[in-house]
């Protein structure tokens, strides 16, 4: 299984109007891997995540998923290829309940596996079970993050994209979420591509990692290797962690 390419981003350039946010990015994610992407604010990490989902679309280059060119597909068709994202800002549906939010995630299979999958999400995040009929908008930040990840998982994704899952969360909850990701990866073979500011935890968790600077990938390699790299340490680790 592992080693076979699932996602291949080749020379992708993405523009916001005339501003080039991605300047030729090459990234590859293999089946069964956890790959992380780190970089300073405004480096273009979220832009890459969104470009993979086709919103905005890449102006140049290609996004290949499971051997198929998805660069020009509209977002909802990309989602139907089973790429699920927990996007920056979580984007849960605030007036809908937790359960309804999860339901929205399970729309691709028309709720066929809903009952079964909800149980799985609830074992993963027991907090969501307690709060199942609470409105999404009234959840705490951490609970919203769990809901966002849970909703993405409801789609039974082949590739899970996570944009800063630890944003604004207490260390204990971050630890919980990272453990959950690891567990999904090991037990279900879920492929994960995640963006993180919390470089230390992300690099420790992932098989491989990329470092992005100003819309370009400047470094890549196994997580532990980057963790030991003096340049990475200086830029993303030292001063950030104690």
């Amino acid at each position: 299984m592992a080693g076979e390419s699932l996602l291949k981003v080749q020379g992708v350039e993405t523009y916001y109007g005339n501003i080039r946010a991605l300047a030729g990015v090459d990234v590859e994610v293999n089946k069964g891997e956890i790959v992380s992407l780190i970089g300073a604010n405004g480096a273009g990490k979220s832009t890459l995540m969104m470009t993979i989902c086709g919103s905005p679309q890449a102006r140049n280059g290609q996004v290949i998923f499971d051997g198929e060119d998805i660069t020009r597909l509209p977002t909802h068709l990309i989602a139907r290829k089973r790429i699920a994202q927990s996007p920056e800002g979580r984007r849960i549906f605030p007036r809908m309940t937790v359960l309804e939010n999860l339901q929205m995630g399970a729309g691709l299979d028309n709720l066929k596996y809903f009952a079964e999958d909800v149980e799985k999400i609830f074992t993963l995040f027991p907090r969501l079970k307690e709060r199942q009929s609470q409105r999404g908008g009234t959840l705490s930040g951490g609970e919203q993050q769990m809901l966002s990840i849970g909703r993405a998982l409801m789609a039974r994704p082949k590739l899970l994209l996570l944009d800063e899952p630890s944003l604004g969360l207490a260390p204990l909850i971050v630890k919980g979420i990272f453990e959950a990701i690891k567990k999904l990866n090991q037990e279900e073979g879920l492929t994960v591509f995640l963006v993180e500011q919390n470089a230390f935890a992300a690099l420790k968790l992932s098989d491989r990692a990329y470092v992005m600077v100003n819309g370009k990938v400047t470094m890549s390699g196994p997580g532990r290797e980057l963790l030991a790299n003096p340049e990475v340490r200086a830029a993303y680790l030292e001063g950030g962690r104690h």
């Binding site: 989602a79 996007p87 984007r91 809908m96 309804e100 729309g107 908008g137």
Partner: protein
């Protein structure tokens, strides 16, 4: 306890009197020129003025006494009630709902079914006309329109200010097709709905990319375009003259309501000739149409498309990344809402027997939207209540002839319809900013039903 409470109550009276006098003085200052003095042209066409001190006195007295009662009686009473509730431990939301509350829908439905019979029984066949037609049918038309618009605005969150266009399409479809093709109401009703839905899609396409204010303005323009076409395409629509002599609906082609017809309904049942029977029949038709609208709305909310509508209202990008085709989702919302507008339109045409562009002005769209907002976007019950209050209330104004005694013989209460409508809206929005029923009923449950109350939450003003 006795001494301080007496103390505060006498203090309260002083305060109430002071505020009352103050309000009176302000009212005097505000109205002295507008109400106290009236200009008119005398026989020689000169502009002269006369005073109306009596009327001015009434205005001032209403303001002063109103303020006095508000400060001295109503507010302390409300405060006391709140305090008592807090003390007895019953909060605003009590779990124990009354019998009436629990069976509200069943009771309302039975009452509606019996309503025409009851008005005939109480006011006689001819006397019931006013209650069945002016109140019953009129209100139900607006209930249906508002429920239709609710799909677009309340569920899908697409602000549509031109909804009356679909109402017009439905009405003219029926008027023209029945005149030219001679088809019956029951054939044309679905056809009018389909045609309106088609127009919904035609409107939907260009506005797919728009949201919020921009969408509102384009839909507003669309409504005006339809009206202007109706006015100017005189060969087909006869312009401002409108189309008259529109055929009446029949009881499924079996009995007719045309007096000359051999199977005239009242004759077939040995009843006296009266237009009341037609109105009673129409009442049940529009009631059935309303129930259809409600049923479809409730069913759709539990289906993927309905869930997609509600999700679309909240976050379009999230919808797309969950595999929802937002284009078709929006178009189906427009089309479904428009279809019910079309049904209501063809019903309107058959009820009036006459349609003209004058019935489809922007004000109608505004009234329908106001009912949706007042009722609480998305809530069928709330919207129905809002329609009863708003439409029924304005109809009641026609009955207020006694006000002439107060304001003089020139006073026509109907003219104040919009003023009162606006006033009522302001008051409701002040006390219930989310509309009469601000709670959204969730559609997903694992075990038991729980209502998620809007009053617990501060975010959003939906």
């Amino acid at each position: 306890m006795a001494a301080p409470s007496e103390n505060t109550s006498s203090g309260l009276m002083v305060k109430a009197v002071r505020e009352g006098i103050f309000a009176g003085v302000i009212a005097l200052g505000m109205f002295i020129l507008y109400v106290g003095i009236e200009t008119y042209q005398d026989i020689d066409n000169r502009l002269v003025w006369r005073t109306r001190w009596g009327l001015l006195a009434i205005f001032v007295a209403v303001a002063a006494i109103g303020r006095f009662l508000m400060v001295g009686v109503i507010k302390p009473h409300l405060d006391r009630r709140k305090l008592a509730k807090a003390k007895s431990g019953i909060l605003e939301i009590s779990e124990e709902k009354s019998f009436f509350h629990r069976h509200f829908l069943k009771i309302a439905l039975i009452a509606l079914l019996l309503y025409p019979m009851a008005s005939v029984w109480l006011f006689g066949t001819q006397g019931s006309l006013k209650y069945v037609d002016n109140f019953g049918i009129q209100i139900l038309i607006y209930v249906m329109l508002a429920w239709g618009l609710n799909i677009v605005v309340g569920l899908a969150g697409l602000l549509d200010l031109g909804y009356v266009a679909f109402y017009a399409v439905g009405a003219y479809s029926y008027a023209l097709l029945s005149a030219h093709l001679g088809l019956s109401f029951w054939v044309l009703l679905p056809l009018a709905g389909i045609l309106a839905a088609l127009w919904g899609v035609i409107l939907g396409f260009p506005v797919l990319r728009l949201r919020g204010d921009y969408l509102a303005i384009v839909t507003l323009a669309f409504g005006e375009i339809i009206r202007l076409v109706l006015i100017n395409w005189t060969d087909v629509t006869r312009g401002t003259f409108g189309i008259s002599g529109i055929k009446k609906a029949s009881v499924f082609g079996i009995w007719s309501f045309d007096v000359g017809s051999p199977n005239y309904f009242p004759k077939a049942f040995g009843l006296a000739t009266s237009s009341a029977y037609y109105k009673i029949f129409l009442f049940y038709v529009i009631l059935a149409l309303c129930l259809l609208t409600a049923y479809v709305t409730i069913r759709l909310r539990r289906m993927p498309i309905g869930r997609a509508w509600e999700a679309l209202r909240e976050d379009e990008i999230a919808c797309r990344s969950l595999g929802i085709n937002t284009v078709t989702t929006k178009l189906t919302a427009f089309a479904t809402g428009a279809m019910f507008g079309g049904f209501a339109g063809s019903f309107f045409a058959t009820r009036q027997g006459f349609v003209s562009p004058e019935s489809f002005v922007f004000l109608e769209s505004a009234v329908i939207l106001a009912i949706v907002v007042l009722g609480g976007m998305g809530s069928l019950t709330g919207i129905a209540i809002a329609a009863v209050v708003m439409v029924g209330g304005t109809e009641l104004l026609r009955e207020m002839a006694f006000l002439k005694l107060v304001f003089g013989p020139d006073f026509t209460p109907e003219l104040y319809r919009m003023l009162l409508f606006g006033l009522a809206m302001v008051i409701v929005m002040l006390f219930k900013p989310r509309g009469f029923v601000g709670t959204r009923e969730p559609t997903a449950f694992l075990k038991e039903r729980k209502v998620v109350s809007g009053s617990f939450t501060k975010e959003g003003h939906g």
